[in-house]
């Protein structure tokens, strides 16, 4: 196997080309809808057209028994229920098929089975439902208390959880302030929108006495846990497989009603069933994301030194909580990361997680951080402008200096290593900031306005037991697992509990085993995403798989190495302490024996084993980082924009990232993750939005009205690396999968603010559409006239 940078190594630090590529480039990837099972019937759902309604009756057409199923027809299915220990948190039961009430447009009511999807949809369209339509609770800041429209009647309000995070003395900061800046921000509702939607194929394997569920999921093992609990069958009788998954980004790291319903149907029916989500179903029913409202007040001195930040954060979480973590993590993450990379001494965040008649909110690349970054980074810029200084200088002066690491933020986050101010300087260099300032003085011939903006953030990654326990989570993804098995010919199989869906973990995990064992990745297979072949693991989310699964691979590989050395030393007739494993062989003082020769002894010729050593080369290890509150990557993003004040159109002409994720296992893949994340962040900043009308109807349910960034809208993205290894992980790795998506909205909004500085307009809501830009300019102009 060869490397992108021309190096020949295959271990840690090599830009090894991906082993996943060949099948995809040949059109031989295997996604759920590509799997063929004889006799498969197709599934379509009848979904609620109303945001909020009581169901008076459901009438299936005559003769449809056995082809149309409602909740009453599938009594095996219990409601989804998120268990939380968070004080005061409410957790509603969620029937996978609606019973008495529907609470968002798209909620499943009945499931239809037919030979083709078209016929199944015909069947769904022939079901008559008598609804009593109720008024919808749509606007979270208005409906969380005192609303007449209760989504879950027994609550008395529409609040999942209210929580205050504070440190220092915010009142004292207010009294000491020479400058006070207050702003409201909004990051609107959007979709994760992986290019492959969700999909489920379920059938009974009678020989193995199990139900097999193929699902496009990031978390096969925990989906099995949930299916066992909800369908009340032993987990030994459930196999969940996530084959090739066409992007996940968070939304596929949750349990969904469709997975439960298909598994239940497979148990009822005598044939496989398949549901392939179409794009409208995806935009209606797969987890939505963001939908944060902020009110932020910063207290500062005349130099722009921030003395305190007081904020209110409202998260519109939709109608139900997705299993396993519920609706609580967005507000929690936003409140705890809002102080960002700064030495803010006094802080208060009052957070409210609100139920509305909208699609449930779930995780998406960045989880809570993009909104928090938008709020604090816009605020830092406004503080700088209020004191008449450059935002870059004010940003750096407020940052935690490298010498203060490790540093516990005012919101209780323990930042481990890094030099945050250096990332700002590097990013400003990458964009040649003095050249932009000179260009601004000259002006543009076409009347457009140039602006440059920056945003910095820290990215909690690979967090484990301590972090999730502090949230009151009932399921704590604190470790990952690996079984490393050398076969009789010396080839190696790594079986891991995570799931790789674009991150290239089949490549990078083999690099780690290569580093430990000297076995070339071309002789290593990586198996993932299948409960049958791998030990329990939590899956791929929270920027955790490289650190946690990589750590488990390192440990299992070292256990194998020790055993190889013991057997090898016996074969070489030397002391095990003198033996070392390197380059695919065990070397003693006077000779060497290959791993293949040792593997043969361990399996086929046990007469060659040393006394007291068992046959097989098969080790299972778990791993959690030494610090389970997470290791923190960080970055500064910078954007240069051209804004047309006549049309409101924003052109992004340059974008740079200066980042530090510790030790990079595969720099080529790291850069791919950064660029992919940045473009998703640009989507949040400029294009992506699912608005709702006053009746709770979503207004973007196709790719024609839900806009995603395409190649033509984007500049190439520059990257500068810094390297501060983590002290608490194998090799100094940190997670980095999400960071790219965190800062672009803030950096771009700051750049637009810079471009419009002379006009005095600012846009504090994403996406920054031409209409919003024009409205902001008009608002300033009208205020000037008045």
């Amino acid at each position: 196997m060869s490397a992108a940078d021309g190096t020949t190594g295959s271990g840690i630090g090599a830009s090894l080309l991906r082993r996943e590529d060949a099948r995809h480039l040949d059109g031989r990837g295997e996604f759920v809808p590509d799997i063929r099972m004889p006799g498969t019937r197709e599934i379509a759902f009848l979904r609620s057209p109303h945001a909020h309604a009581r169901i008076r009756s459901i009438a299936a057409p005559p003769g449809s028994k056995g082809r149309v199923f409602t909740a009453a027809d599938l009594p095996r299915i219990k409601p989804i229920r998120v268990v939380t220990q968070a004080a005061g948190a409410k957790s509603p039961p969620w029937p996978p098929l609606a019973t008495d009430k529907v609470r968002y447009v798209g909620e499943a009511i009945a499931v239809c089975v037919a030979p083709t999807r078209g016929e199944a949809e015909d069947l769904a369209n022939s079901i008559e439902v008598d609804y009593e339509v109720l008024e919808a609770a749509v606007d979270a800041p208005l409906v969380w208390r005192g609303s007449r429209h209760l989504i879950h009647e027994s609550w008395g309000d529409n609040l999942y959880l209210e929580r205050t995070i504070e440190g220092g003395d915010i009142e004292a900061a207010a009294r000491a302030a020479e400058v006070t800046v207050t702003r409201e921000y909004r990051m609107n509702r959007q979709s994760g929108a992986p290019l492959e939607g969700r999909a489920v194929l379920a059938y009974r394997d009678h020989r193995l006495d199990e139900v097999v569920v193929y699902a496009s999921t990031q978390t096969p093992h925990t989906v099995r846990v949930a299916l066992g609990e909800i369908l009340d069958i032993e987990q030994r009788r459930i196999r969940v497989v996530a084959p090739d998954v066409g992007g996940g980004f968070g939304p596929k790291a949750r349990l969904y009603p469709e997975e439960i319903i298909l598994a239940a149907l497979a148990l009822e029916l005598d044939h496989p069933v398949r549901w392939v989500e179409d794009r409208t179903e995806h935009l209606l029913t797969c987890a939505h994301t963001r939908d944060h409202h902020y009110k932020v007040t910063a207290y500062a001195d005349r130099q722009g030194k921030v003395l305190g930040v007081d904020c209110e954060i409202i998260v519109d979480a939709g109608a139900y909580g997705l299993w396993p973590q519920g609706p609580y993590q967005e507000a929690n993450m936003a409140g705890r990361t809002l102080p960002g990379p700064y030495t803010i001494p006094n802080y208060r965040a009052r957070t409210y997680t609100v139920a509305t008649n909208k699609t449930p909110l779930g995780p998406y690349r960045g989880v809570g951080r993009p909104g928090a970054c938008f709020a604090i980074e816009r605020t830092i810029d406004e503080v700088a402008r209020a004191v008449g200084r450059d935002p870059v200088e004010v940003r750096i002066e407020n940052m935690i200096p490298a010498g203060a690491m490790p540093y516990t933020s005012i919101a209780g986050m323990r930042y481990d290593t890094g030099d945050y101010p250096a990332s700002v300087r590097l990013c400003a260099e990458l964009l040649d900031m003095p050249a932009i300032r000179a260009r601004q003085k000259q002006g543009e011939a076409d009347g457009r306005l140039v602006g440059i903006g920056f945003a910095s953030f820290t990215e909690q990654t690979a967090h484990g037991a301590a972090e999730f326990a502090s949230r009151g989570a009932s399921i704590i993804p604190g470790f990952e697992s690996c079984t490393a098995r050398i076969l009789p010919d010396g080839s190696l199989v790594l079986m891991v509990g995570i799931q790789s869906h674009g991150q290239g973990l089949e490549t990078t995990l083999s690099q780690i085993a290569c580093h430990e064992l000297g076995i070339d990745p071309s002789h290593i297979s990586v198996r993932h995403g299948d409960t049958e072949s791998t030990a329990f693991g939590f899956g791929t989310f929270a920027s955790r798989s490289m650190v946690m699964s990589g750590g488990a691979v390192a440990r299992a590989s070292r256990m194998l190495r020790d055993k190889l050395c013991r057997i090898g030393a016996h074969l070489l007739q030397c002391d095990p302490a003198e033996a070392r494993c390197e380059g695919g062989a065990v070397h003693g003082p006077q000779g060497s024996v290959t791993i293949a020769e040792i593997a043969k002894v361990a399996h086929l010729r046990m007469d060659g084993l040393p006394p007291g050593v068992d046959p097989l080369l098969d080790m299972t290890a778990t791993y959690e980082p030494q610090i389970s509150t997470g290791v923190f990557s960080y970055a500064t993003h910078g954007a240069i924009v051209m804004v047309d004040p006549e049309t409101g159109f924003i052109e992004l002409i340059d974008f740079a990232v200066a980042e530090d994720c510790g030790t990079m296992v595969n720099p080529m893949i790291v850069e791919g993750q950064i660029r992919g994340g940045v473009v998703q962040g640009i989507g949040t900043a400029l294009y992506e939005e699912i608005p709702y009308d006053a009746q709770g109807q979503p207004l973007a349910v196709t790719f024609a009205d839900y806009l995603m960034p395409g190649a033509a809208e984007l500049p190439a993205i520059k990257i500068g690396h810094m390297h501060t290894p983590a002290s608490a992980t194998e090799y100094g790795m940190k997670g980095m999968g999400e960071g790219g998506a965190v800062a672009p909205p803030a950096a771009i909004a700051n750049a637009v603010r810079d471009a419009l500085a002379a006009i005095g307009a600012e846009i504090n809501e994403t996406p920054l559409t031409p209409a919003r830009v024009l409205a902001a300019i008009k608002k300033v102009q009208q205020a000037a006239k008045a």
Binding site: D21, L195, R279, M668, V678, T702, F703
Partner: protein
């Protein structure tokens, strides 16, 4: 049902198709040609791009019944195509693949750009890819991989 005759990946077929059967479902469900991916089923994302009479087309929007007397190529039928071979190589070396779902449609659109001489600059390639969405890569590496393949195909064309 409508009777159609068509040539698929260089083999002739005669079939009866339902009026609402899409070309994508004809390929995927009847012929098990699963390189053609469905990302939106309304003609925006480009994952289902195939060649119809040599021109890129959305297999999700085209009805099978409209394929009478036409030549269709999916990625499976282009495995020996020299431009596709150059693209596979450059996509691999430049890390232009992540989850792989958009990849077959990207390859077919990229092949068309190169064949029509519309892959001469970064701006031209970016504009030419406006009908193909990728959610993973951020496009940078896809664009550079297409530029590289265009150069290598052009160089080969000159030497042969």
């Amino acid at each position: 049902m409508t009777a159609i005759r068509f040539r698929l990946n260089d083999i002739d077929h005669a079939e009866d198709v339902a009026p609402r059967l899409s070309l994508a479902d004809l390929l995927r469900e009847r012929h098990n040609l699963t390189a053609t991916h469905l990302g939106c089923e309304h003609g925006v994302c480009g994952a289902c791009t195939v060649l119809v009479d040599g021109m890129p087309a959305r297999a999700c929007l085209m009805l099978a019944a409209a394929c009478d007397d036409r030549q269709i190529h999916s990625l499976e039928g282009l495995r020996d195509d020299p431009i596709i071979a150059a693209l596979r190589d450059s996509f691999h070396r430049r890390h232009a693949v992540q989850c792989g779902f958009c990849t077959p449609g990207m390859l077919i659109s990229a092949r068309d750009l190169i064949q029509r001489g519309r892959a001469g600059s970064e701006a031209e390639i970016r504009a030419g890819l406006s009908g193909n969405l990728c959610r993973c890569t951020g496009y940078t590496n896809i664009v550079s991989a297409i530029a590289e393949a265009a150069q290598s195909v052009g160089a080969q064309g000159k030497t042969s």
